[in-house]
């Protein structure tokens, strides 16, 4: 919240809007990269900026090595660089996650003695590195899959975009590249109004609805707790307005400044199954997992086991995907169980859908009934899943 209350954030948006229309002899990604560098420096301070830039430079070097080894047809070397890069990023992400929750790891990273790890860990916290780590992974995997590497300044803009820094969304590298591929849209009043409306809606969600809900339930300075299922249901609604608010603000800034920014929510409470819910809630994370975990794993399993084993393979793939989503939120037993619980629900939904849905086609009463009951079922299941991790959400 502090980030959005910083006047530099809004000043940056006001400066970036006209800046995009000034003709400059650089690509739009470079212009955004440079301005983003300045904005991050103003918002988070020089030390955090240096850590972020150093990390971005390291990722750029890895991407460059990957591209060169591909050009030289050295596929073994390319594979070794890609896998070690992915492993390195994952290790840093796990250390960061544990450092935020585990006292022992935190003491190792932020011990009393002055050391570089304290500076780096502090910067990782300031940069909300859970999101940046996924962008790093997507960049490395994209280059490995044949995408063109970019320059260091553009890459900094991709990895640490100021408007998507705190709570996402996670823009894919492929989507980010459209910043240079698509022509700059001319000045348009309707576009400006659309962007301002999106930002205003996000601010209303975040600072009015979510905050009123929080104050109503927990008091002005109260801790967010969820002792009962009702509390968890309330927390789910609060989370939606808080998180969707952040996402809409990012979306509006992206629309205003023409920086690729994906939508993150699409009326999730209208979903009729939990599986559908997670295609409408935190969409960018779902897309990341689908592209980088679900599809590669399911394809590998089906190529080895055959399509007839699709149901068995899907149980493994869904479970692994949701366990990873859980652990991405926090490395804890609670989130591990959260991931397993949701995976189990989705597997059951899949089995039921395969057997019952075919019979329900054309059955108007059954379909109409589920249109009403489905969203209630989804709300109950997702609230229950939140109950498993309610004490760890904040």
């Amino acid at each position: 919240m502090q980030f959005l209350l910083n006047p530099f954030f809004w000043a940056a948006v006001v400066v970036l809007y006209p800046l995009q229309y000034i003709p400059l002899p650089f690509s739009r990604s470079v212009v955004f990269g440079v301005t983003n560098l300045v904005i991050i420096g103003l918002l988070l301070g020089l030390s955090n900026l240096l850590v972020a830039f150093s990390f971005g430079a390291l990722i750029w070097v890895l991407g460059d090595l990957l591209q060169k080894s591909r050009a030289a047809q050295r596929l073994d070397k390319q594979r070794a660089i890609a896998l070690s890069s992915v492993a390195g990023i994952l290790c840093l992400l796990i250390a960061y996650k544990l450092g935020r929750t585990d006292g022992f790891v935190a003491s190792l990273l932020c011990g009393a003695q002055p050391c570089g790890s304290k500076l780096v860990f502090g910067a990782f916290v300031a940069l909300s590195s859970s999101y940046a780590a996924l962008r790093c992974l997507d960049y490395v995997v994209s280059i490995w899959n044949g995408a063109k590497a970019t320059d260091p300044l553009s890459l900094f803009g991709y990895l640490f975009p100021f408007h998507m820094l705190i709570a996402g969304p996670i823009c894919s590298y492929k989507n980010f590249l459209t910043i240079n591929e698509e022509p700059l849209a001319p000045v348009s009043f309707s576009r400006l109004i659309r962007a301002v409306n999106t930002i205003a809606t996000g601010l209303f969600y975040k600072f009015v609805i979510a905050e009123l809900l929080r104050i109503y339930q927990y008091g002005v300075a109260g801790q967010i707790v969820a002792d009962s299922w009702t509390d968890s249901a309330f927390l789910l609604v609060y989370l939606f307005f808080d998180f969707a608010g952040y996402s809409l603000i990012a979306l509006g800034v992206g629309l205003l400044c023409q920086i690729p920014t994906p939508a993150n929510f699409r009326a999730p409470f209208r979903s009729q199954t939990v599986t559908e819910f997670f295609t409408r809630w935190h969409i960018s994370l779902g897309d990341f997992v689908r592209t980088n975990v679900f599809i590669p794993m399911q394809v590998t399993l089906l190529r080895r086991l055959g399509v007839s084993a699709a149901s068995v393979a899907s149980i493994c793939t869904i479970s692994v995907s949701f366990i990873l989503v859980g652990l991405w939120h926090r490395v804890s037993v609670g989130f591990l169980l959260w991931g397993l619980f949701l995976a189990l629900v989705m597997v059951v939904e899949k089995v039921v859908a395969d057997r019952v849905a075919a019979a329900a086609v054309g059955h108007r009463v059954l379909n109409l009934g589920w249109t009403i009951v489905g969203p209630v079922y989804v709300f109950v299941v997702v609230s229950t899943s939140i109950h498993l991790v309610a004490g760890e959400v904040f």
Partner: protein
């Protein structure tokens, strides 16, 4: 894509989604076919790989948004082979 290849692809779709009357068009996407979710998408692609003797990259599979994308990709792969 040749008419024979399109017939083969149509048969795969009809069997996969249990819709004997399904007609393929370039604009046909997952939103138009009941049951075409991520799991079925992967099964569909792996079946096509086996039937057409081609191999798709994971990034290509993830990017497929319609039957038009699929037929273009299959044609490109067959030409490469």
């Amino acid at each position: 894509m040749t008419p024979e290849a399109l017939d083969k692809l149509t048969l795969i779709f009809r069997t996969m989604f249990n819709q004997p009357e399904l007609v393929l068009s370039d604009n046909l996407s997952a939103a138009d076919v009941p049951g075409w979710d991520s799991l079925k998408h992967v099964s569909l692609v792996v079946t096509i790989e086996a039937e057409f003797g081609v191999r798709f990259a994971n990034s290509e599979i993830a990017a497929l948004a319609s039957v038009g994308d699929l037929t273009q990709l299959i044609s490109a792969k067959i030409e490469q082979a």
